[in-house]
Symmetry: C3
Subunit: 191 residues, 3 copies
């Protein structure tokens, strides 16, 4: 049974850890996933077509060409999913200086056809603490507010992705000292 | 004049009561609606095509077949709406263990072509109290938080349904002891 | 280089002032935009086709015809954008008695193909104060709540517009006595 599960989460959400541990549990149950990073697939396509080798150079590409490669990456991942279960590691929104860009616009969703969209979340306080070691209170508060906004926008656009694609939306909460619960939830989505 | 009004609301929102009373008021003004339950139309189609007779068995159906029947149900309701005004009783999101599924994905909206999407809401406290009779404070707080999240997700996805279909979005608030106001608002939408 | 930037904001957000001042700054840098009001383009098309001359009469038009003209307006603006950079002055949602109508439904976005969607915002308190001169506390609180809801819905539907069109979303905050910061942010989007 093939399946496409998109997994997102802001830096500090602990997405990578939760996925890794969930995959270890599932392996013992005989369930395996191929983990694909959306940005890596795009970079690979850009290397082949345009000779782009650095992630930073991806931004300079013309919008029309960028979107076409974004669409093709979705198609390529959907092709992998014909053979096996796939986890797509990506972002709901890509934050750039000029604004938030949608990671899964309509033309990508039409190729990718995800079954589930997972948002790995934690409280803004937890994420801010995981990101910073210093004790600058003021910067922390600004950071927390920015994280809260980012997570809210991710939820909003995830609901739109769901409406466009029919994929289920699932929130996996990864609180401090409760990684086990997050892993359990992730296992239940992937099983 | 034909019209498709989609009406949604979490259990305990009082959706059914508000609609029933609004229809009584409208009947006296010579305005009638056919009320169609989206899930019932889908179940009927599944009975004809697949021999499915219980709602619980609907979940076991293959995703591709499920979505096709979901689309056909939208078409069937749109056909009814050619003759008369129709209220579609459904959910913004269908909550399942693995996540929230969109009740009105793009391919359903393209068939159904709703004019208005109504969300019947109340405060999480009011809805939790309507659902439970016991006085377990802790469980109540968890329930309230879950209701708040559910209502927020419904709003978010309703905005996406609106962007996809062009339908107007309307919130009808049904507070305790103010049913009359909710009915009045519903009448103004349906008139 | 052509570019379509959609700029929205509730009345009292200061959208017009921020845009005007940003355009003055950009003019000195040799960057010019054509500012197009979406409603004006629609009214012009309705005048030509249907003889409609007043904005208030636009509401009485049959939904099918209205949507077709809404789509054509998007096409007309996209045509202008082939020659020069365009700012589209419009609303995320058009608030009418029966509900909120989406300003940029799917069929409009497919014609318009925006690059960026800007939401000019301020706190509900600031916007309420800018709108009212009287000191009626109770009405102010109701107004603030209605403004907050309106801004939240605008954010939600903007995320859906982004998912449908691929446009970046950008929030420009225009706080009291900090117009300069808002103008700076707007300049960075438009440059």
């Amino acid at each position: 049974m093939s399946k496409v599960v998109v997994i997102t989460g802001v830096p500090g959400s602990g997405k990578t850890t939760v996925v890794r541990q969930a995959l270890e549990v599932l392996k013992q149950q005989g369930i395996e996933y191929e983990v694909v990073n959306y940005g890596d697939v795009m970079l690979e396509l850009m290397r082949e077509r345009l000779g782009v080798t650095h992630r930073d150079d991806m931004r300079k590409i013309d919008t029309g060409v960028y979107r076409e490669i974004q669409r093709e990456a979705g198609k390529k991942i959907a092709d992998i999913a014909k053979q096996k279960r796939v986890i797509v590691d990506t972002h709901c929104f890509v934050k750039k200086p000029e604004g938030y860009y949608p990671g899964l616009p309509l033309w990508v969703l039409q190729e990718l056809r995800p079954d589930v969209l997972v948002l790995v979340e934690a409280t803004p306080q937890e994420i801010a603490r995981r990101r910073t070691l210093d004790a600058d209170r003021k910067r922390d508060q600004e950071l927390e507010q920015s994280i809260q906004e980012h997570q809210e926008f991710n939820r909003m656009v995830a609901m739109a992705y769901s409406a466009i694609s029919g994929a289920a939306v699932r929130i996996v909460t990864n609180h401090d000292d409760r990684l086990n619960e997050a892993v359990e939830q992730m296992v239940s989505v992937l099983r």
